[in-house]
């Protein structure tokens, strides 16, 4: 008998900075690329989503009020923490997708670099997306971009870590808070990402991570009246219509994206506020 | 001179006076308070500050569950904060609910603490929502029971809805009840006034109406005695002295829990109103848990190592 028995990881949800199990008590099997049992992931319910939205909403004003510098530094720290765990994440990716060790490490590096890229946008995008507008009249007129609020994410299936990071980073950098649903078949990278986030000074509730079935939860994301925006890049194209329709009730801003490194992904979940003020004494 | 000759007691006069006060820039006030909070008070100045802070504490218990036993223990603690060390000064006053004043006064007298005043909260503390008759009676009862200081609350509802003259007249009436039997502290409840402009206006309103002290809070609402709020109030008493040659006291209350907090307050006084205010007759700190932290820090300064809560009495 060689080797010691490894302590298997329990994969839980990440809500408001804590790691609860799903309130439904349900789980589902995650199998490796070659069919072996990997873990019982939580099968999150609509009530978990409801709790996550409450947490995200409570955290949002504080996160948006933090200075852009502070948000940038925190997202950079998420990159620092992820870099430190490269091997752990690469292993998980290989197990789930069958990618080689080299390919998986490459995916982790790309995810780290993408976090660094987005971190650098926090204190620059307003200088580009905002403007002083030359109106006709003695008025100072300026437009400022502002965070939208609480944004849901249906994370993509391919590249379980990189795709996840590409979805959440642009949402957080401007001051939104998020609830992300990990890819149903390969959720482990997203769930482990919670460990990185929990050690990065990101305030509780800013990012919440659920694992479960897209088919069960996506409609609840879409209909929730306290979710302001939704990234459905991870949803199959034939589902987009139904989800968009469900989101109309509170005029959710719903988008899906093709590019991963794109400031447009930040702007898609921002509002623009224009202010007038007379000039004179 | 009535109302220091600055207002004539009419609504118009009061309104105009308050309106002409310069505004307070919130960001600037916050920055000044934050800069003063970086003062590093060490060694001899820290020792002096700790003892001064102790002598300025209004040791307070204001709970629905207060009993004679609780109040008596508080009074003993107020007079001899550290029973093992008689060098520790006694606090500035004991602050209790009006129906506990008699018990406090009696106990203090019985332990030889005749010079330690009892302050009573009155006027339907903390909300201030009661009839004028009740508020006047509240005050009279406290004074008859032995209170030498009255901490009254202003009608914040009236203030926020712009009925300044009502707030003014209430203070004038309570001041009259106090006469020369008790000094009057006026609680502005700055957490409910919210803006620094309001804090400045309310400070002047209270001083014009006859306050001996202006006090930040009831301690039942947060935020309470934040440094910028205390800064604005210290500026008000400083400027009021220039106008009238009368010094009004300031009492922050609520949220001052550690020695560090207390020392920051003393620095604010020192560099805003000035050293004349560094005396219990012009500056008090409304607190309860603070006293033990001051004692722990005092121990560390004299012993040279960190103390433990086991070595200070809980009451």
């Amino acid at each position: 008998m060689s080797g010691r028995l490894e302590v298997m990881k329990t994969y839980k949800l990440y809500i408001n900075g804590a790691f609860p199990r799903t309130e439904s008590g349900r789980s589902y099997e995650i199998k490796s690329h070659s069919g072996e049992f990997l873990a019982n992931a939580c099968l999150a319910s609509r009530k978990d989503l409801r709790d996550a939205v409450v947490a995200a909403r409570a955290a949002q004003p504080g996160w948006a009020k933090a200075t852009a510098y502070n948000r940038g530094q925190i997202i950079y720290r998420i990159a620092e923490m992820l870099e430190g765990r490269a091997d752990q994440f690469a292993q998980e990716i290989s197990l789930q997708t069958g990618a080689t060790a080299k390919e998986s490490l490459q995916e982790v590096s790309e995810a780290v670099d993408l976090l660094v890229w987005y971190a650098g946008w926090s204190d620059k995008l307003p200088s580009l997306a905002g403007a002083t507008n030359p109106v006709s009249g003695p008025f100072y007129n300026f437009t400022v971009p502002e965070a939208l609020g609480v944004v849901g994410v249906i994370a993509p299936i391919e590249k379980p870590l990189f795709g996840f990071v590409a979805a959440i980073a642009p949402i957080l950098v401007s001051g939104n808070t998020a609830i992300a649903l990990a890819s149903s078949s390969a959720p482990l990278s997203a769930i482990s990402f919670a460990e990185v986030v929990a050690t990065s000074d990101l305030p509780n509730g800013v990012l919440n991570i659920l694992s479960g079935q897209q088919s069960e939860l996506a409609p609840w994301f879409a209909s929730h009246m306290d979710i302001d925006g939704l990234d459905i890049s991870g949803l199959a194209v034939d589902q987009h219509g139904t989800i968009k329709e469900a989101g109309v009730e509170n005029l959710k801003r719903i988008s899906s994206f093709a590019e991963t490194a794109e400031p447009g992904r930040i702007l898609a979940f921002m509002e623009a506020k224009t202010v007038w003020h007379p000039i004179g004494n | 001179m009535k109302f220091y000759g600055l207002v004539d007691g009419s609504d118009t006069s009061l309104r105009n006076y308050l309106k002409q006060l310069p505004g307070v820039d919130q960001v600037g006030a916050d920055a000044r308070a934050a800069m003063l909070a970086t003062r590093s008070i060490k060694t001899t100045s820290k020792a002096w500050a700790i003892d001064t802070a102790i002598s300025m504490v209004d040791l307070t218990t204001l709970e629905g569950a207060d009993t004679p036993g609780k109040v008596q223990a508080l009074c003993s603690k107020a007079f001899r904060p550290d029973p093992t060390n008689p060098e520790v000064p006694h606090v500035g006053a004991v602050c209790v609910y009006n129906d506990m004043v008699g018990i406090a006064r009696q106990h203090l007298d019985s332990i030889g603490a005749k010079e330690l005043p009892v302050a009573a909260v009155s006027t339907a503390f903390p909300s201030g929502r009661a009839s004028m008759a009740v508020k006047l009676q509240d005050t009279e009862d406290a004074i008859l029971a032995g209170a030498a200081e009255i901490d009254m609350v202003i009608d914040r509802g009236a203030f926020l809805s712009g009925r300044y003259i009502e707030v003014f007249e209430e203070i004038v009436a309570i001041r009259e009840v106090c006469g020369n039997r008790a000094h009057l502290k006026v609680i502005l409840e700055t957490g409910e006034l919210v803006t620094y402009d309001n804090v400045r206006k309310a400070s002047y309103l209270a001083m014009l109406a006859g306050a001996d002290f202006i006090k930040t809070s009831t301690g039942k609402v947060t935020p309470a005695a934040t440094p910028p709020v205390v800064l604005v109030m210290l500026e008000a008493v400083r400027d009021f002295y220039d106008l009238t040659k009368v010094r009004i006291g300031v009492k922050p209350a609520g949220g001052i829990r550690t020695t560090k907090d207390a020392i920051k307050q003393l620095v604010l006084v020192n560099e805003t109103a000035g050293p004349e205010w560094l005396d219990p007759s012009l500056f008090r700190i409304g607190a309860s848990a603070l006293l033990n932290d001051l004692l722990l820090q005092r121990m560390k300064m004299s012993d040279g190592y960190y103390a433990s809560p086991n070595y200070v009495t809980i009451d």
Partner: protein, 478 residues
């Protein structure tokens, strides 16, 4: 009852100063051929012996920078360049206390300021610019995002580390390599910065630091292998440099002197305005190009403001810069102190009324008490010339237009301040003022995202924000 603050000195033990320093060229320390002393202006103690850079040293540095540009730096993606800058920012944060104490020892500024302003802003500057390195195509500074190549940077003594950050961060972010000369009296934090570059693994030759005096600076300005010069310092030297490069293809940005007008209207928030006046002229001992050195006070509140100002000035603590409670530190050099004396003497002669609070000044070192002159008119030397010390000239005005006229009546155009509670008035004044940085109801606020630079003889170009990037990119200008 007086509340005396006992001495609260910050410990020097966090800092290790070598007795002799060389230059930092091509990632290595290079011994200098001759040296000069660098002293602590608060005590006149000799801190270290600094190398005097010769033309040969400058030449070696330029070659190293060119080589690094050609072989390594220009080959890196913006993303990779950015990651070096993020590392540098983080290491500066890690070594923050060390940098702050060293800056105070070398410059004379209070530890509270180096700790709370200089060092955090310097790290922030690197952090901010790190994020631009891979986003230049979005910066809106033009379609050409090609760096110049090798840039020569000459910085002043008033904010040694911060000025280094303002220069090096954007230069590197845009893909240039650097030869930097710190000021003669303040080289130490630049030399410590070289250690940070090494810890960050920055490729050799990307940043080169050559210490020295005016002759070293001239060697940099005149070196044919340098594509662009960036200079912060006096207007006189700025003009010398501009003349020297005018017949060359070198690109040039300048950040020069100022005589900032701080305008207080009658409707200002008075207490905060007084704080702003004090901050405007006494922060950093008044050694600030954008200092609010002319107070332009509306007559209807002049007496009240002056009385409050004097009372506030009584509370300024002058003394040991390493003491955490010190507000006003030492004047940086005997030379600068002599200049301040000369100009304030002129103030007396020309009939202005001088006032300072009583403050005991230390025996050793270079010190000047915070001072105001009232009854100043535009014709006085102390209203026209930059004193660069803790001296405020006070003028008055009756109408808003008069305030603007007086404020603009100067060849300088770096900064201005406006104090008023009326929004439209503030916006009107900002529209009229000919100054590159205008602070309304605040003063001396800096941020890497906020462009800084002057109109008129206060300089060419901006630093910080996306506007500051264009200085370091070739662009389409010939």
């Amino acid at each position: 009852m007086n509340f005396e603050y006992a001495a609260a000195p910050e410990s020097r033990s966090v800092v290790k100063i070598d007795p002799v320093y060389g230059h930092f060229i091509n990632g290595k320390w290079v011994t200098g051929t001759s040296h000069f002393n660098s002293i602590n202006p608060a005590t006149e103690e000799v801190l270290s012996s600094i190398a005097l850079g010769t033309s040969a040293d400058v030449d070696a540095a330029v070659k190293a920078a060119r080589n690094a540009f050609d072989k390594s730096w220009s080959k890196l993606s913006g993303r990779e360049r950015g990651k070096y800058l993020f590392r540098i920012a983080r290491i500066m944060q890690e070594r923050a206390r060390e940098f702050a104490v060293l800056e105070t020892l070398d410059n004379g500024k209070p530890i509270r300021e180096s700790r709370d302003v200089d060092v955090p802003l310097s790290a922030a500057h690197f952090f901010y610019h790190a994020g631009w390195a891979d986003k230049l195509e979005f910066a809106g500074v033009g379609t050409t995002t090609t760096p110049h190549g090798v840039v020569g940077q000459i910085i002043p003594w008033n904010f040694p580390l911060l000025m280094l950050a303002w220069k090096v961060a954007p230069a590197l972010a845009t893909g240039n390599t650097v030869v930097l000369k710190p000021a003669e009296t303040t080289s130490l934090t630049a030399l410590l910065f070289a250690q940070v570059c090494q810890q960050a693994g920055l490729p050799e030759g990307v940043v080169n630091i050559v210490t020295g005096d005016g002759s070293t600076g001239a060697a940099i300005v005149n070196h044919p292998g340098i594509d662009k010069i960036a200079f912060t310092g006096s207007t006189d030297v700025g003009k010398l440099i501009a003349r020297a490069v005018s017949a060359t293809n070198k690109s040039l940005t300048l950040e020069l002197g100022g005589k900032g007008a701080n305008i207080v209207f009658g409707d200002a928030a008075i207490d905060e305005a007084v704080e702003g006046i004090v901050n405007g002229i006494f922060f950093n001992q008044g050694h600030v190009c954008c200092a609010g050195s002319r107070l332009i006070l509306q007559e209807n509140i002049a007496d009240e403001v002056l009385e409050k100002l004097k009372r506030r000035m009584e509370k300024i603590r002058v003394g040991d810069p390493l003491d955490k409670n010190t507000d006003l530190g030492a004047i940086n050099s005997a030379e600068q102190l002599a200049k301040i004396h000369e100009l304030t003497a002129a103030g007396d002669t020309e009939g202005a009324a001088r006032w300072s609070p009583n403050c005991a000044l230390p025996d050793k070192g270079f010190w000047f008490a915070p001072t105001i002159f009232t009854g100043v008119t535009q014709a006085h030397r102390i209203a026209r010339e930059e004193i660069f010390g803790p001296v405020l000239s006070v003028l008055t005005f009756r109408t808003p237009n008069e305030a603007i006229e007086k404020a603009n009546n100067t060849p300088f155009g770096l900064s201005a301040g406006i104090w008023s509670e009326k929004g439209s008035n503030i916006l009107w004044a900002t529209q009229q003022l000919r100054a590159g940085v205008i602070w309304a109801n605040t003063f001396n606020k800096f941020d890497p995202a906020s462009p800084f630079g002057g109109y008129k003889e206060s300089g060419w170009g901006r630093e910080g924000g996306r506007h500051g990037l264009s200085a370091y990119l070739k662009g389409s200008a010939k």
